[in-house]
Amino acid sequence: MNKPLRRVAIFCGLLMLALLVRNNWIQYAQADKLRTDEKNRRVAIERYATPRGDIIVDGEPITGHKATGGDFAYKRTYKNGAMWAPVTGYVSQAFGANQLESIEDGILTGNDDRLFFRNTLDMLTGKKKQGGNVVTTLSGAAQKAAYNGLKKQGGKGSVVALEPSTGKILALASYPSYDPSTIAGNSLETDAKAWEKLQKKNNPDDPMLNRALREVYPPGSTFKVVTAAAALEHGMVEDADQKTDTPLPYIMKGTTTELKNDGDLPCKDASLREALRVSCNTVFGKLGTDLGNDKMLETAKKFGFGEEHFTPVRTSSSLFDKDMEPSQVALSSIGQFNTAATPLQMAMVAAAVANNGTLMKPYMVDELQTPGLDTIEKTDPEKFSEPLSPENAQILQSMMETVVNDGTGGNAKIDGVTVGGKTGTAQHGENNSKNPYAWFISYAKTDDGSAPVAVAVVIEDENAVRGDISGGGLAAPIAKSVMEAVLKSKE
């Protein structure tokens, strides 16, 4: 009977071997995958086990933490959360994280590999693990001006301010907003209910939408700056004051439809400067058609249209279409048809013009720090493209300055500072049935010729009287206060 006994022994050995192999498979080969699985609650437990690092603006944290009960030790708190929500995003024990809180989660929780050495040291010396900090490029004063401006206005809207020479994002406001503190915990009573109320299906205002980065609007007349840049760059126009060959009324090529101006404007054969000052649809529509789809698209792409940007928070992609009919190109060239831009995109347009034609990549994380405030990584400003030559940029600047000094953008005038801008009133809805969007893009220049700030403001106010909505009326004052805030903080 011993021969079968030995075989049974081998069989039992194989059973044990199978268990050992499987054990190695799940605890070694698959371990990392299982350990970091988002559904594995340990990931969340770990995330909230230590006080989370802070997000910092102007050297001051705009976030904090609070000890909670249950298996999550700490929860996130926000200072002035609604104002900063488009920057921070949220991190919630119940609902995960998004935007900056999600992208820099490793640094903030202290789990990032770049903190490994430090964590090991801390473990050996018996110190508790801490999260690192994320230092942003934002300006508290500019953000406050932007958010309060939107809040006072009362309608939905968004403001983005950039530093043209570097691409630093100075303000990133969206209204209506939400306070991420209210959903940071995992209480069914408070946090879950607050979350439900914020969802788009329960709240038509969609407060959790980051309008500055994730919403696209028809840019309307502000897009004429891009069309002007294309005309200058492609040699269609060489001088701002040279008369263009534009009939009035202008019938769009290939159609019998007249492209109308907004009112009785002196647009016949108007120069580029004059056309921008009074915002002639005819001049820019014809310029776009004459340039053609490809050249317009080429310039739009150089300004950043047609792709997502990572600030590092992802933006939506702005659109200038291809393969359009000439009439559609005409409409697109004045920011209508299906042209669509994020507020950040239009701020980039203003910034590129202000920075003498060089567009810098927009970014909002200046530095990642260890808990001990040592720098782990610093973002260097990076050139995105050169949509304009310096000469053409200066021509465009002088035109935009005329808009503010003598044109539709008068509300953005600041004493003692050169301001250039462009208003926009974009129609939307079928047959323009809905209230148009009010746009304003601008930049401010100091005496030494540098431009410390470029702004884009968009207001979607469904309650306002239709006639009142014009970029100059609603949006320009907000842009002005944001520019003033930045200029003041520079002094």
């Binding site: 009977m1 011993n2 021969k3 079968p4 006994l5 030995r6 075989r7 049974v8 022994a9 069989f11 039992c12 050995g13 059973l15 044990m16 199978a18 268990l19 050992l20 499987r22 054990n23 190695n24 799940i26 605890q27 070694y28 698959q30 371990a31 990392d32 995958k33 299982l34 350990r35 699985d37 559904k39 594995n40 609650r41 340990r42 437990i45 298996d71």
Partner: protein, 482 residues
């Protein structure tokens, strides 16, 4: 003890155990480790959870030490030549299991459960009863061959034990498996654990008598020895019983265990490979057949094939008539999160498994807190128990002892495989407990009895001169001393 050392004069076994030293002191030394390691583990849990040595450390250490000491004294007195490894291995596993159960008792998450009870004190009591039964087995069972007399009584007993959970009012259905019985005032009992041993006794007695008929009367067909129709009877009966267990108690594990044990013993008794082929075919057919209409089994298979989906369904609260459980996925996450070295005692989150975290799923706690290294060590401890059992079977001089020893150790190996394989996602999950580690009175008591029987067989096998007087069946041939 050394006085009995007798140079081997006759080899009746392939293992030269005769005249071997008793190894009782080795056992004692190993027992010291088997007690000290869990005591350190216990202290470790307390330090990790509350930053202090737990208050119960002394009584826990003394309790475990006392049990080990009593067991050792009983072996020294009643089975001096028994295998020296089995008792320390069982003690170590039992001790570590107690620590893990106590550790899970401290979990706030489990304490919030409606059905929470402090399991560790109960398990300590069960362990004490188990060791007492172990001592009783060694004391009353002077020779394992006595059990031969109870072959058919065992059969009846095993059937009764298996059927008890089906008796209305007595049976107790827990999450779809009817394998418990409720004894008013005493709690629940899993008769299947005891049936395992009783059935092994029956199989061993039956096969010892019938093995020649089963082995020799067969026809050769395509290289296989096909048994005669009438000899197929017993295997078919056992197969039917297994299927019935599967259908009425929906207990895949026990069903597999009994059938597997029988096939192993049949193979050892007859040395016919054809039985294995038959066994595999029949168990495959049975399992597939039952799974095709039994929703409980289907769920288990679903959870095995796609644990993540089951988790999502369970979380979403999908009500489609099937109980969706997130446990399989939670167990995998526990293992994965433990990684190579584990999080350390008391620092894991295996309590996320929830229900049965300290019984069926206890291996996941070890996986998370002691890591790959710890689980491999545990599996090797189990492998060692099986190896000592098989060695005992090899060394045993009588066919009944051989069959009983291989039946018990084979069943033990199968149980470890089915449970550990289920928890680790190697095979579908079945409702069985990890011997000695898991919380459960029936399991720990029955397994101590199993170790007792193995020790008795190994004592008989390793005893220097076969003492004829010790075989009550052989009294007529007793040599009359001059």
């Amino acid at each position: 003890m050394s006085s009995t050392t007798n140079p081997s004069t006759q080899h009746t076994s392939t293992i030269g155990a005769i005249g071997a030293p008793s190894r009782r002191n080795t056992e004692l030394a190993l027992l010291v480790f088997a007690v000290v390691i869990p005591v350190f583990a216990y202290a470790n849990v307390g330090l990790a959870l509350d930053d202090q040595v737990p208050a119960g450390l002394l009584s826990y250490g003394l309790g475990l030490g006392l049990m080990a000491g009593l067991g050792h004294l009983a072996v020294r007195k009643f089975a001096p030549y028994a295998d020296p490894l089995l008792l320390p291995l069982a003690t170590l596993l039992n001790g570590l299991g107690l620590v893990a159960i106590w550790r899970l008792d401290q979990s706030e998450r489990l304490q919030q459960s409606r059905t929470f009870v402090e399991a560790a004190p109960r398990q300590l009591m069960y362990s004490a009863i188990g060791v007492a039964l172990f001592v009783a087995v060694l004391f009353f069972l002077k020779d394992h061959r006595v059990l031969q007399r109870y072959t058919y009584i065992s059969m009846a007993g095993a059937l009764v034990l298996l059927l008890l959970p089906l008796v209305p009012g007595l049976g107790h259905n827990v999450f779809g498996a009817r394998i418990w019985i409720k004894i008013p005032g005493l709690g629940t009992l899993q008769p299947g654990e005891f049936a395992k041993i009783v059935l092994a006794v029956f199989f061993a007695g039956y096969l010892m008598v019938k093995r020649d008929a089963l082995a020799l009367a067969s026809r050769r067909f395509m290289g296989l020895y096909l048994p005669r129709g009438r000899d197929l009877g017993p295997i078919i009966v056992v197969w039917i019983i297994s299927i019935l267990i599967l259908v009425f108690e929906t207990d895949l594990g026990t069903s597999l265990l009994f059938f597997g044990m029988f096939v192993i013993m049949l193979y050892v008794a007859t040395e016919r490979t054809s039985w294995i082929v038959f066994g595999l075919l029949m168990s495959a057919a049975g399992a597939v057949g039952v799974a095709s209409f039994e929703p409980h089994i289907q769920t288990r298979v679903q959870a095995w094939l796609n644990p993540e989906r089951e988790f999502d369904l369970s979380r979403a609260g999908v009500q489609d008539g099937i109980v969706h459980s997130e446990q399989a996925m939670q167990a995998l996450w526990a293992f994965g999160s433990g990684g190579t070295l584990g999080s350390g005692w008391g620092q894991g989150h295996s309590d996320l498994i929830g229900f049965a975290a300290n019984s069926d799923f206890i291996l996941a706690t070890f996986g998370e807190e002691l890591g790959l290294a710890g689980v491999m060590a545990l599996l090797l401890l189990y492998a060692l128990i099986v190896e000592r059992g098989v060695r005992t079977a090899l060394a045993a001089r009588d066919p009944f002892g051989k069959l009983l020893a291989i039946g018990l150790s084979g069943a033990f190996a199968l149980q470890v495989f089915v449970v550990a394989g289920g928890v680790m996602g190697l095979i579908p999950l079945t409702g069985m407990t990890m011997p000695f580690l898991a919380y459960g009175g029936s399991s720990v008591i029955a397994n101590w009895a199993l170790i007792g029987i193995l020790l008795r067989i190994s004592d008989t096998a390793r005893r220097p001169a076969p003492a004829p007087a010790s075989n009550p069946d052989a009294e007529m041939t007793q040599v009359v001393r001059p």
